[in-house]
Symmetry: C2
Subunit: 400 residues, 2 copies
């Protein structure tokens, strides 16, 4: 059956669970006595153990970044566009390691897991985890897998923040930091959107202070709203216009100006039903997401974003944070990304250069907003591919 | 006591209620058999009845645009920055007419009014009203006040859309159309934000399909969320940064980069309490708004925005809509407004020029985002003042 998968797919993949019982002290001071991390790997670790790449996921991602979980699986992993044999992150060259982060809801220990101390769902008792905590847990996974050094750590958005944290927390344990569509820290506007999303969830009457799983309920409406808000910020205005240009419409207009609207009086609801395609699209996205994601995890992920600012230990000077990071950096951003716009990546580049680091930076013209980092945009994929080919050549040179 | 009001204030003002019992047919086809409009006027109508200015309010505005309702009133009307003796809209020169639009919740007939047919609150039975319907009701008010022609119709945001509609629906009944921070129609992103705001309200368990007043409840959380979402879109990212630069912080950073955050580990909640000033600011704004505004009115106002597109009767060609509008147009926009950015005003200018209209356009450099139109920014106020001084001179010339 797996013959039916595309030839450039990693094909059928199976997650593994790694249990850790060394207590993990979190940035908050709280201690997680034991935890599981669910992991997928693609490709083969070479005998020198030098060709491993760590993929860090963003807000709603997980360990399943490529391939399929069953022969009938219609939808591949979230970054299948970039990971596979012959793809930008080439699984014939690299051993690709993916995990679901702590606090997640796809198999790693998180709020929807059972707390062994109480034998109930963790729910709101699951501690707030930060990017730093994730990177610490990823380093333990690295030890478990007996990988001395990552050839590269790669991630977009919140994943890119983990990449930056790797370069600061474990500077000797990665050769390349590939940070896509990220920011040195959140803007007030970013935090504001996150807070409204959180409040949508917590003010849902089914939230029950986070104990909904115990009570057999679910804050579905709140999570839907949160996702709808998030989704607006992932898409550019122009991407939305393009997406909704196919609205049935009984008057002609330039499709570039069309926002999926049909304002002819006869077709309007003059009520609060959906009138425009963009509304039903958002409903669909919110609905789908709210079926598959844990609301407490959403809260944790947005807080990890808000708290991210590695400059905090360096008197607010981010350049200082990177002074002892010998790895090479590759940053990319997307022209219409208004969540983490190119100027935020340029701030990072400036600080990295100030710290004397080797940095490559590429701004990709793309219409898709923040979501662009998940899409196989040719210039973006080519750039990532070219960079990683060089990384692989370095490995071969070093091996000889 | 009114001696204590500033000398450039219109001082104590008293709203009047005008009852209309000519049935009003709405764009939806529904008929409003009778309705009240609550009105405030400032200044004096001259004997030729030529110096009247109509102010059209935006989403959350009302008839109280300037002055105070009582001697202890601390807060003047919503556009007091621009309306008063010697101000840009000079009440010593002009007779300024303000009303609360139909569907509003400040005294005009709306969802929170009693439906005479049922003797219950209208609630969700109040019909959806559009910009066109408002302008029709404003024209009736104009007849009632025996004003043959407005010297100018002025409005910002949704108010600016009413200005445009005046020029199309009643082209012979205004001399000047002053349209600030508006757009020819909403973008898909604008509609998306409105829909999330509406959904926040309708999914509140206290909404009860809009019959909350009958049941003595109120969808306060939903309305708070809706306002928080709106508020983010009214402020620019830079305005937010500036507003929240005074956070107590134990590390130094450039205040222009500060977003009101204090990320030193000791001061973070590591929970879901408020960590950042921007969060408490949004809570405050949402809370205050949710006490004074009707949720059903909020739904109606956002739908009026979504439905606005005067090109719809002109085969999608907005220029054609203005072909028979002899009035002069003055448009302004603000550089950091990302809700209705300058490019949207420039689209309007392009279509007005294509229609052969006389247009002045000014783009104001301002940090305050969409909210700038409510603020006494010197260049903005000066421009409005200069324009209206010319309008007044025209009146004097025509009178001689």
């Amino acid at each position: 059956m797996s013959d039916s998968f595309p030839t450039n797919s990693v094909g059928l993949v199976t997650p593994q669970v790694h249990h850790f019982d060394d207590p993990l002290t979190l940035r908050s001071g709280k201690v997680l006595p034991a935890y599981d991390l669910v992991v997928e790997t693609y490709g083969t670790l070479n005998s020198a153990r030098t060709n491993a790449i760590l993929i860090c996921h963003a807000l709603s991602g997980d360990h399943h970044s490529a391939g399929f979980h069953s022969p009938d699986d219609k939808k591949p992993g979230w970054w299948d566009a970039c990971i596979g044999p012959g793809k930008a992150i080439d699984t014939t060259l690299f051993f690709v390691v993916n995990l679901n982060n702590l606090g997640g809801c796809a198999g790693s220990t998180g709020p929807a897991s059972i707390n062994p101390e109480t034998e109930k769902f963790y729910g709101p008792d699951f501690p707030v985890v930060t990017v730093r905590d994730w990177v610490n847990s990823q380093a333990r996974l690295m030890d478990r897998l007996e990988i001395p050094k990552w050839a590269a750590v790669v991630g977009g958005s919140l994943g890119g923040m983990q990449v930056l944290r790797w370069a600061i927390s474990y500077p000797e344990r990665l050769d390349h930091a590939i940070c896509i569509a990220a920011a040195p820290k959140l803007s007030a506007q970013n935090i504001a959107f996150n807070e409204v999303a959180r409040r949508s969830i917590t003010s849902d009457s089914n939230f029950h202070a986070g104990r909904y799983l115990e009570l057999g309920t679910y804050p579905k409406q709140g999570l839907m709203l949160a996702r709808m808000i998030g989704h607006i910020t992932y898409l550019s205005d122009s991407a939305m216009r393009a997406k909704f240009s196919k609205a049935v419409s009984d008057y002609k207009r330039d499709s570039s100006e069309n926002s999926g609207r049909d304002l002819s009086t006869g077709k309007l609801s003059f009520g609060f039903d959906v009138d425009f395609q963009v509304e039903s699209y958002l409903h669909y996205q919110g609905e789908r997401f709210s079926k598959n994601f844990d609301a407490n995890t959403y809260l944790l992920m947005t807080k990890a974003l808000d708290y991210f600012d590695p400059s905090v230990d360096f008197e607010g000077d981010l350049a200082k944070a990177f002074e002892n990071s010998p790895c090479k950096f590759f940053l990319m951003s997307f022209s219409t990304d208004w969540r983490f716009p190119p100027e935020r990546s340029r701030e990072l580049v400036t600080d990295l250069l100030k710290a004397g680091r080797e940095v490559s930076y590429l701004e990709i013209e793309a219409d898709q907003g923040h979501d662009a980092f998940l899409i196989a945009i040719p210039r973006y994929v080519d750039a990532l591919s070219t960079y990683l080919t060089r990384v692989h050549k370095e490995l071969e040179v070093n091996a000889t």
